[in-house]
């Protein structure tokens, strides 16, 4: 702890806490490519420098060793999909396989055979694009998010 406090930050990035709907404003202190300290910002009408334990300390997930680093495709086979192993794939392979499947389903069973679950953890821009993809490209209103609250 003491050593990390003494470390010089290379950058301080003003952003928004990713945990709850309060929307506290935070500063991420970055050194050697990691978030080593997080402060609450004072220049706002939301948190006035305060943070809770999640907003102050809950950032190890960003650097977790099991973060996904490459697209994954299920191996072909006869067994149940859940049982089969994943193989790393290129972006082209992975995106083409999703697009091929969705096109096939849309052409054979209609757009309403496909559904999209968007996310209360993703940004506005991403949520906007997800429903635009569902409605404007595929042609279905089957779009919802898990936290209808």
């Amino acid at each position: 702890m003491t050593t990390s406090l003494l470390r010089q930050s290379e950058r301080i990035v003003h952003t928004t806490c990713p945990y709850c709907g309060v929307g506290c404003q935070i500063d991420l202190h970055i050194a050697n490519g990691i978030i080593y300290r997080v402060d609450g910002r004072f220049d706002n009408d939301v948190n006035h420098g305060n943070l809770c334990v999640k907003g102050r300390f809950g950032y190890d997930f960003v650097h977790a060793p099991d973060r996904l680093r490459t697209p994954l495709l299920k191996e072909k086979g006869d067994g149940a999909r859940a049982e089969r192993a994943f193989q790393p794939a290129s972006w082209d392979e992975a995106l083409n396989s999703v697009a091929d499947q969705l096109r096939h389903l849309r052409d054979h069973y209609g757009p309403d055979s496909i559904a999209f679950l968007t996310s209360a953890k993703c940004t506005n821009e991403e949520n906007y694009l997800m429903q635009k993809l569902a409605r404007g490209v595929v042609g279905t209103n089957n779009v919802d998010h898990c936290a209808r609250l």
Partner: protein, 546 residues
């Protein structure tokens, strides 16, 4: 928030965090605010401690806010409507109605007054197992306050009667005119960081961004033009909700699902059902930052960016649109979700050309009146802005419904008490209530990877009242089997009077003891929010280790 959209015309929190200390009375129900919205709760504590506000807590559990409460009604879970109706009854009986407000700004009063005429405090007290005098006291405090604000969260909405609960609260605000001023209002506290934004952006089956109905020909024309999409591609029929999508996958109607940034394998009620649905659906693609329980079942998994590696905006519970900024490089070949969606759309024949999230926001704002005056450049200069913000020189809107309601007049909606779907019986004598605790977040995908947070709250726990524990032969810390009609999990007993007699409490953060294995798939008929809060269970002490 189907309830508020009906009664006042907008489902969002009416007031702002900043004006909480201006309330003389705070009514908090179904929100464990100090754990679920900790920094917002600081303003509630400030209102009580520094400004002498009175806090009315209506919650079965003795949560931390109880220490700040002038009055705590520990009602039986699922009996909220009975309590709120009786409060309205008292307000009318005792002449505490804000008559000028009701006359000028509302409609439907007569029918509502007739409906609550039979909801005496005594009748509600018998159903809710609280004292009638406390109901009377709560009604007087709320109605007689200069400014009184109501707050609620998932404890109110996660019932089959969730929409009714919200309407019943809304009726109280309309009756007393406790809305449209600082320190008043109807304030649903949104859980995850961007629930408000996901709804605002049209992440719902029945609306485009800005709650413009897909059934409206005008809205479809507007979006067809804005998106340069053939009009006939935009369907006028509302789509399926998440619960219906899972049912559709099981029945064979849904053949492909794309999931972005969610783990329904942990956050949905009745997990067996969800697992079967996701195993059965012929095609499943998942976009996420971890390979979680849902991703394991997928055909394709695409690696996305965390909040620290991308740009964009979140909209907080108080309708405040705020920026996130990239602080770190992406791990490996991961890409921000907006790029992944763009590549996918273009492979399906679209011609999207976005250089950055600011351009996406600008397109959205051009089609969404309440966001029209907001841009990334403006947020960069001025900080967060609260919608509605219709023009570039508009300062944003801290308080809704000041002059008139979004729907014009506020609508009284009589609601009747409906008992919970699953009542306790001899086989399943306890009510199980689920919720979240301070140190973990929803499915736990993020917070459970934090060694520091794991050390504080390491295992699944079930809170049991001391009298119930004694009767069931359960010792503190002992492993307990919790069984419902749908499944069973094992958790460590934590004996505490926080939980009232007859009700046990579990969290749904832990994959190993997912409380949602036990809960019911019954959903509120309008909001389609699953019933997490009330189901019947039995407790058996066991020898196995937790």
């Amino acid at each position: 928030m189907a309830g508020l959209a009906t009664t006042v015309g907008s489902g969002a929190m009416t007031n702002s965090i900043l004006d909480i200390p201006q309330a003389d009375v705070l009514l908090v129900t179904g929100s464990n605010t100090t754990e679920a919205h900790p920094v917002l709760s600081l303003q509630m504590k400030r209102a009580v401690r520094q400004h002498g506000a009175k806090l009315i807590l209506i919650d079965p559990r003795r949560i931390e806010l109880a220490d700040f409460a002038a009055l705590h009604l520990r009602h039986k879970p699922g009996t909220d409507v009975a309590v709120f109706n009786a409060m309205a009854h008292v307000i009318i009986q005792e002449g505490l109605v804000n008559v000028p407000f009701v006359q000028a700004r509302t409609e439907g009063y007569a029918a509502f007054a007739a409906a609550v005429a039979e909801w005496t405090p005594e009748r509600a007290a018998a159903i809710a197992e609280v004292s009638a005098a406390d109901i009377v006291q709560a009604a007087r405090l709320y109605a007689q306050a200069q400014n009184a604000a109501i707050f609620w969260a998932m404890g109110i909405t996660q019932h089959t009667t969730g929409t009714d609960n919200v309407k019943a609260l809304s009726n109280l605000a309309l009756l007393t005119g406790q809305i449209g001023r600082p320190g008043t209002g109807l304030n649903p506290l949104r859980g995850q960081n961007n629930v408000q934004g996901a709804c605002d952006m049209g992440g719902l089956p029945n609306v485009f961004p800005g709650y413009q109905p897909v059934s409206s020909a005008e809205a479809r024309q507007k979006f067809a033009a804005g998106w340069q999409t053939p009009l006939e591609r935009l369907s006028p029929t509302p789509g399926l909700t998440v619960t219906e999508i899972m049912d559709g996958a099981l029945s064979g109607r849904i053949k492909g699902i794309v999931i972005m940034g969610e783990n329904p394998m942990l956050s949905d009620p009745n997990l067996h059902h969800v697992r079967q649905a996701l195993e059965k659906v012929p095609f499943l693609a998942v976009i996420d930052i971890f390979l979680n329980e849902t991703g394991q079942l997928a055909d394709v998994v695409l690696p996305a960016a965390s909040f620290a590696e991308k740009e964009g905006t979140f909209t907080s519970t108080e309708r405040r649109v705020q920026l996130i900024r990239a602080a770190l490089p992406l791990p490996g070949e991961a890409q921000p979700d907006w790029q992944i969606l763009t590549s996918l759309a273009n492979r399906l024949g679209a011609e999207w050309e976005y250089e950055n999230p600011g351009e996406i926001f600008a397109e959205m704002a051009g089609l969404t009146g309440s966001y029209a005056g907001i841009s990334h450049a403006r947020l960069e200069r001025e900080g967060g802005l609260q919608w509605p913000c219709p023009t570039l020189d508009h300062p944003g809107t801290p308080i809704l419904h000041t002059e008139k309601f979004s729907r014009g007049l506020g609508l009284f909606c009589p609601v009747d008490y409906i008992p919970p779907v699953e009542e306790t019986d001899d086989d399943y004598p306890f009510i199980l209530s689920t919720g979240r605790i301070l140190f973990h977040w929803h499915g736990g995908t993020m917070s459970r990877r934090s060694p520091g947070l794991e050390a504080i709250a390491p295992q699944a726990e079930v809170e049991i009242n001391p009298a119930d524990a004694a009767r069931s032969g359960i010792a503190d810390g002992q492993a307990v089997r919790v069984s419902s009609r749908r499944g069973e999990v094992i958790a460590a007993a934590r004996i505490t009077s926080r939980s009232p007699q007859g009700t046990i409490f579990m969290t749904f953060h832990f994959a190993e003891a997912a409380a949602n294995l036990l809960t019911i798939g019954a959903v509120d008929p309008i909001a389609k929010i699953p019933e997490y809060k009330v189901c019947a269970v039995r407790l058996t002490p066991c020898q196995e280790s937790v």
